[in-house]
């Protein structure tokens, strides 16, 4: 996890596009400037970043399902819950599912575990599919995908 770069996923451990499910590991770093402020003397992974972990895991899956034809921009989170505390050094396992592919949008749901206990979930993650703002951004995805073990090239349209 590169918190300051908002790159939450370390690696995908399972991507099943047919079943519309993906699982990823997100290792919370021991050190980060984020923890200097959240909170002084009590470093705690911010809940919004747990939401981001779920959004990115499911977002990559949306990209695969839609053939990387657009950028899945998070547009809404319904029933997002932070159920437990996550600390520096913890390993998160996130499972994202796509429950509906609409025209120009997709709907997902996700859940996250730490040490086998559910720490976060979201019942409806809404993504708008927007055109890639630049060809460079899309091209940069392939290296990024390789770093996090996401088989992106298999799904490019």
């Amino acid at each position: 996890m590169r918190l300051e770069y908002f790159q939450m996923i370390d690696r995908f451990v399972d991507v099943d596009v047919g079943q519309r499910v993906a699982r990823a590991i997100c290792n919370v770093p021991q050190q980060s400037t984020v923890f200097e402020g959240h909170f002084p003397g009590y470093p705690l992974m911010p809940g919004v970043l747990l939401i981001e972990c779920m959004a990115q895991t499911t977002g990559w899956l949306v990209s695969a399902l839609t053939g990387f034809t657009g950028l899945p921009a998070l547009a809404g989170v319904k029933d997002g819950k932070i159920r437990g505390a996550v600390f520096p050094g913890d390993e998160l396992e996130i499972e994202g599912r796509v429950v509906h592919e609409g025209s120009g949008y997709a709907i997902g749901e996700a859940k996250g575990w730490c040490k086998g206990v559910v720490v976060c979930d979201a019942k409806q993650l809404t993504y708008r599919l927007i055109p890639y703002p630049s060809p460079e951004l899309r091209e940069g995805l392939w290296d990024w995908a390789a770093r996090i073990n996401f088989p992106a090239k298999e799904f490019v349209k």
């Binding site: 547009a75 809404g76 509906h100 592919e101 609409g102 025209s103 120009g104 949008y105 709907i107 809404t126 708008r128």
Partner: protein
């Protein structure tokens, strides 16, 4: 048996917290009911699920942007319901 319009009106009322009696076949989802694009995604999701279809929002948007259609054709509710009925019929064909 409820009509397509009844179902769509229920969805809009529930999704956007608009009183059901304010939702009429002649209502324009954007101009009259002031539904924004994000709320319309929620409505589209609910319609897709309820009717087992996929509203072609990207195609409609493109047609409006290209001047080939007006928003009335897709966002006045009686017209939207006609489009939904067409999609249901096409699915069954």
């Amino acid at each position: 048996m409820s009509t397509t319009f009844d179902k769509v009106a229920e969805i809009i009322a529930e999704t956007c917290d608009i009183p059901r009696e304010n939702i009429k076949p002649e209502s324009h989802a954007i101009n009259d009911l002031e539904i924004d694009s994000l709320d319309f995604l929620d409505i589209a999701f609910a319609i897709d699920k309820a009717f087992g279809i996929k509203l072609p929002l990207e195609q409609w948007t493109q047609e409006v942007n290209d001047g080939k259609a007006t928003t009335d054709q897709y966002f006045v509710l009686k017209n939207l319901c006609e489009r939904i009925d067409e999609l249901i019929a096409a699915k069954g064909a």
